[in-house]
Symmetry: C2
Subunit: 671 residues, 2 copies
Amino acid sequence: MRTGIATVCLSGTLREKMQACAIAGFDGIEIFEQDLVTSPLSPEDVRKMAADLGLTLDLYQPFRDFDSVPEDLLAANLRRAGAKFKLMSRLGLDTILVCSNVATAAIDDDELRASQLARLAALAGDHGMKVAYEALAWGKYVNDYGHAHRLVDMVDHPSLGTCLDSFHILSRDADTAPIEGFDPKKIFFVQVADAPKLSLDVLSWSRHYRVFPGEGQFDLAKFMGHVVRAGYTGPVSLEVFNDVFRQSDVERTAVDAMRSLIWLEEQTAKWLDANPVPAAEGAGRGGSDGSGGATRAAGRRRYPMELATLPQVAEPAGFNFAEVRAADTASLETLLGQLGFAFNGRHRTKNVQLWTMGHARVIINEQPPAADGTAEGASASGTGTVNPGTAIAPAISALGFDVDSPVIAAARAQQLKAPAVPRKSQADEEIFQGFAAPDSTEIFLCQGSPDGTAAWTREFGEGLEVAPAAGATPGHGAVIDHVNLAQPWQHFDEAVLFYTSALALEPQPYAEVASPTGLVRSQVMLTEDRGVRLVLNLAPLLQHSAGPADGTGQRRTYQEHIAFAVDDLVATARAARDRGLDFLRIPANYYEDLDARFGLDPDFLATLRELNLLYDRDADGEFLHFYTATVGSVFFEMVERRGAYDGYGAPNAPVRHAVQYDHLHQLKLTI
Amino acid sequence: MRTGIATVCLSGTLREKMQACAIAGFDGIEIFEQDLVTSPLSPEDVRKMAADLGLTLDLYQPFRDFDSVPEDLLAANLRRAGAKFKLMSRLGLDTILVCSNVATAAIDDDELRASQLARLAALAGDHGMKVAYEALAWGKYVNDYGHAHRLVDMVDHPSLGTCLDSFHILSRDADTAPIEGFDPKKIFFVQVADAPKLSLDVLSWSRHYRVFPGEGQFDLAKFMGHVVRAGYTGPVSLEVFNDVFRQSDVERTAVDAMRSLIWLEEQTAKWLDANPVPAAEGAGRGGSDGSGGATRAAGRRRYPMELATLPQVAEPAGFNFAEVRAADTASLETLLGQLGFAFNGRHRTKNVQLWTMGHARVIINEQPPAADGTAEGASASGTGTVNPGTAIAPAISALGFDVDSPVIAAARAQQLKAPAVPRKSQADEEIFQGFAAPDSTEIFLCQGSPDGTAAWTREFGEGLEVAPAAGATPGHGAVIDHVNLAQPWQHFDEAVLFYTSALALEPQPYAEVASPTGLVRSQVMLTEDRGVRLVLNLAPLLQHSAGPADGTGQRRTYQEHIAFAVDDLVATARAARDRGLDFLRIPANYYEDLDARFGLDPDFLATLRELNLLYDRDADGEFLHFYTATVGSVFFEMVERRGAYDGYGAPNAPVRHAVQYDHLHQLKLTI
């Protein structure tokens, strides 16, 4: 699949954008007119620079408001087009995107439109140029891709084809199957964009909220499947208008964009495999005209467009461990001990501790990150890629996931442009494959085992995982239930795609939770069997700008946590209380409201109140949980799921945020 | 008018919100349930704290999903309501907001609904409580305020009335005139919110984008006029869900909120004066039932609700001056001299210079801001309220406006809670009334004069304003055309209301302009005769977080400018070029595109290109302009308006942003 991207997706100058696209590995780019107009580079400079960078110039765009106009305006439009064709020659570029008329269309007549497009095609042909005509979703008369294609068919000129833009098609919920009947020679260009489903006027939706494939809710694999079946072989180019991407670091956004196309290519291949064309339909146009689709009846390898594949992985089975880094680990050790975790000793060569409760493993990493950001400051799980100076206060620094084959999963992540973080190990120690997530959390791929144990724990203490006697303590069945990571606002969409593509987690519709400092957007990422639940929190903007920043702008200023599931939360809480745990204290008003809402048994309510437990209930089951105080930016949660309850106690989240805010505020007042 | 605000409008804890409301001068508040539930304050604490702060507790809210349900669910809802009535007793509060059912409504039957509301009213009555029933715009069966009122009429119980929320009414474009026919005794509560017109599903619009009156596009004066005519005398309370306000400084937002109600009160009085009730309608319900509306036929003073008025001012006639502050003024002096400004000397007692061109006056203030932030570091125009350490690089620090009566205008601004900035003056010097805008720019009110001169200029140099001989230089007719100020994103809405209410400028629909670092929102504020044009720019977020911040978080990191209008821009540009002016250099691609778009006369195009001039044209006229290089955060623009052109060359703004970005970037690379 030939990959492309419109320069309008990215921030910076045209020069910066082109360099970033080359680094990210795109085959070609679309030149967005404004980027050229505002650039000091001459068209010849741009042409040379693209060649030097190994980028093809695939499209010049956009040319607006051409068709459906009175004759005098048409003459002016043709003059305007002529000037652009000359410019395109200097750029060494042969295709221009012409959008259906929005502003000046006055005559709704397909015959007239076709005749006007024919004159444009003839002029283009005189210049050796081609016109890709696109139906904008908000075009005055032409706003449907089928309509645009019919006009192209009516004109039937070699210089006129259509451009298929997934946004303009899928934002209207249009059926994409008819694309397969198009003559591939008439599809001059394909632009792809994803988007969240929004009830917004389509123009605003399009201009501000497009995202890269995999970051939104469009069924792009199906769209692309139909395009491939039509026999199209040209570039698949991203055209994504997004307010955040326009501001973000250009090289980083370009890599995020490239990752989305690699993922889309794989998803398209999967869709084609899962949706074989019935034999009767296989004799369609693309298959019969030679230049087009070859035979379609069998597997996807017969289609003219080649689709690269990635190493295939199953979704992870669960969390293998979570790692917290801290300069002073005393408060973490106290909290874990009070929660019922057992100390499993220190690593034999590294300055890290292992704490376990059932199969929930927490590594406390005392090693300061290395000054050069390389492996010397290696943690039990990874390396010191965290910048020096960060993570001095306790913070979540790494997560381990159980996968079938760590090597294959790591190869997949690498092909998806995840930066690798190799683990420095002694000869006889476990080697973890790892990479850095967009928020700089280190992700490690571990070999899962059927009995839930982990071989690497032998490197700690006496070389034995401490297994509490079954039934002896309330936490013997404990596992990591979920991990909640705060995300910098400008990398939130990138993180969603990252965990979707590299780790096979499935994004759920997001929720918004009120806090004293603004709404917190909460995005759950799941595996199908709920073995892994990862929650990405987008904190309010002022949270980010208020906090201290490190050199990379990556520092999270918002609290994160690790939640452990146990079988008997009340017993766990009582034991923790007896050990002196500092619970997050829940206000009395909460329990009054709980009673008003659920009419709970008075004894049960008294227990909840006594132990600072929170409670939720829905049609599927019940949820009990409590939180610890926060150390650094980390706190812990203990949960018990009853029945098939599948949530996270969202109605209780505002209580947690308010109490945590209050503590933080009182802390500030006393300093 | 009794003023109120829902605690949900503000950030922070309940304690912080209540304190901020008291400081801002609100009469009462609505307790948003979640703020109480998440608070460590007991209901009794809240009651006492409100009393101590002089705040009434006017409403408890919201109670959801009560009506239109099957009998078993109704029983549960009544139990839930009973618990809340007991809680309200402890708060010392007698009214609860009940929203029409969204989630659990199952039976669409007004008779049933009325009977259910009657049971709720009876229960409320038993507890000495009242229920204000509100139609949510997205209520399943009840979503129209008239419908809610009909149900209240059907029940006809003293404990049941309606709540009118301007958002739920105006978001549906409902006619508000029928409110006048309502029995005022049945209107238990009025909530006001403004909002920008958005094509968004109404729920998202409501939950994220409400703004305070005067910051959006609703006709709230008309809405309130009908409410007043109905005879309502209760609180007028703000209920504004806004993602930004939820994050912003709570005391500041509370003042912004209070300002909006003061302004709304005045606008309502004006609407009532401008829309007298025809005599025939004056005998309506409110007028006839004694407790209600009194006689309505005549002026508004006859309505039961008292409406306070503000000192009245006409819109300002023009800019009197603009002030730029700088530690090193050399580059500013050079730029102004090259543009054709004359140096009018130094102030007789202060360390400031005056530069003029026609009636365009620029003050260069060399005085460092005082360390204590008070008047000692006084500028020509004002005081040193700018924080020490800011504005070391040249920055726009103050604007003077010509008004009819500076004293009255200042009194008005003060009643609108604008912080005053008195000018320290010697005995014989001009005294300016001034106040600080939300972005900390100092605004001064100056006595305009019919001939366009300014008396205070006598305090400079030889005591004479330098008047260039007419026709001798191209700039003799120059005036300040517009000033462009960058606004911190979290105070943008506040700034719009501030200039609207305190300075009588009219906000125009905003535009968005592309820049290499994101979209820039551009909000024009005008006087009717265009004597004053103020442009507020909301720069992309990363612009703000990337820049250095001062202690107040007020620092602008984005470029701002002052634009001067002249009669002959080409002559002005030639003269400036001959004096060696450093023009913002416009890329050649721009002129090619200009030609493709407009087909300009080749000589004219050559002149534009030669002088780095930009050009725009619309149906009303033409616009020529050029920019200088930037010093500190300030640059200058020269413009010529031909015909009735009323814009600012918006199509050219991306070119300016890109070239400025490129310069900044190259600057960074060479450092």
